[in-house]
């Protein structure tokens, strides 16, 4: 059974409809990429899954319907969102940011251990643990956002353009760690990206969004070989 199943999801900002009924599904501990141009509705899709925008349609997570629930309750079920803009608590320290990630968990006693585990993935954050998060570089803040999501021990992680604004080398490093996280923590990733080449390399499945509709979906390899995708999104 799919971990996440979306049927006929619609969303609008005021009068402007952004999603026109999209369907997709995501397997347990898989990596799925959501591709598309600017304004296709990728960010809105992620926001819709977390009830951060008004929606219609059905969202099933781990066998339960979650559309219509409050953001906090969806998070508590194990959906961690790494938002657009990274969502850093700028005036708190790095470590306080990470502890907040574990806020919704019931098992508080393992938090210290999880901090160590997260610092294992991102040693740079350990060096910066007492530093105000607002003073971290863009790449470090992205690592912090991923780490904060990881502290929830999520079953599903929604990543909104983690590569945005980062140097190519940093992106490569980050994606390698994302692959490791997916393997070791058995957490599913739903990755929204403009960098289609990188995303298709990491993901096993992918969907292509165009102006609020899913126009293509399937194995990442298939999409990579698709002529239309190649010309429009991969550029060769």
């Amino acid at each position: 059974m799919a971990l996440l199943e979306v049927r006929g999801l619609r969303a609008a900002y005021g009068q402007t409809r952004v999603l026109h009924g999209i369907d997709f599904a995501l397997e347990e501990s898989s990596i799925t990429a959501l591709l598309g141009a600017n304004g296709a509705g990728k960010t809105t899709t992620l926001r819709a899954l977390c009830a951060m925008v008004r929606t219609e349609g059905e969202v099933h997570f781990a066998g339960e319907r979650i559309d219509g629930r409050a953001t906090e309750d969806i998070v508590r079920m194990g959906v961690a969102h790494v938002p657009d803009g990274r969502g850093t608590f700028l005036n708190l320290t790095t470590e306080e940011n990470l502890k907040l990630g574990a806020y919704a968990r019931r098992d508080r006693k393992d938090v210290e251990g999880d901090l160590e585990r997260v610092y294992g993935y991102f040693p740079r954050l350990r060096e910066r643990r007492r530093q105000q998060a607002g003073t971290l570089s863009g790449g470090e803040q992205q690592m912090l956002a991923v780490s904060r999501a990881l502290m929830l021990r999520p079953r599903l992680m929604l990543l909104d353009e983690p590569s945005f604004g980062l140097a190519p080398l940093v992106v490569r490093e980050l994606f390698a760690i994302l692959a490791a996280i997916n393997q070791r923590e058995r957490v599913s990733l739903l990755l929204v990206e403009q960098n289609a080449a990188m995303a298709l390399e990491l993901a096993s499945h992918a969907y292509l969004l165009e102006t609020g509709r899913v126009v293509l979906g399937g194995a990442a390899d298939e999409l990579r070989r698709n002529d239309a995708v190649r010309r429009a999104y991969l550029g060769y």
């Binding site: 961690a80 850093t88 608590f89 907040l100």
Partner: protein, 288 residues
Amino acid sequence: MDAFLHQVLAGLATGGIYASLALALVMIYQATHLVNFAQGEMAMFATYLAWSLLNAGVPYWPAFLLTIGIAFVGGILIERVVVRPVESSPVLAIVVVFIALLVILNSVAGWIYTYTLKSFPSPFPQQAAFKYMSPHEIGAIGITLVVLAALYVFFRFTPLGLAMRAAAQNPESARLVGIRVGWMLALGWGLAAAIGAVAGMMVAPIVYLDPNMMGGVLLYAFAAALVGGIDSPGGAVLGGFLVGVLENVLGAFVIGNELKLSVALVLIVGVLLVRPSGFFGRVHVTRV
């Protein structure tokens, strides 16, 4: 010299009370970017409740703690019932609600307890042990410091305190880590009301209990919060002590007691003109 020292020390005592109320203002300001004009009347009402408890024969310290508890719950209720529904309204609408709250609390207190002055007991001994300060003044400073220390520990070292800071700073991200932001706001109101209740019970033995007793105090607290920087808790506390001392010293030696309140107004206007972010507040720069 003796008289001067006495005025400074007495100023520290009232300054502590201003600091508490300023802290309550800052707490709500940080979370909502609004100044709660009813903060003083909430404190006054809580003090009347304490008076009722004392009159019913409850000993001072149990009555003190019970009042803080009632004020805390009352603050939460006010947020849930009165403030919540207008949360996303324009600022002016919310300000009108705060002023309505002020007038309602003031009138209801006058209606129940009448407008005649009542004396309110101090929990501290009567006879002076120290030349420059009365026991109540020393006690009030001590209690203020205890409240401040407790708040510091709460916000700094507990998960709930951290969650409240997170919710005030970045509500959207707070929601995404599972924090119930609405409840954090309500909790902030509860804490502010509880702090206000302490300030009320400490100031009442000095100014006597009547429905308008907090009017001046709120003005001083507002000046204190502005001097320190309206978004800085530490600044508000220092501002409180500063305003208390200035008010007392200027009142005694320079402008006379009748004009004391204008010290607060001059400070408010002066700070807004010269340094709008206060001495410890953050300057907000926005890229356009």
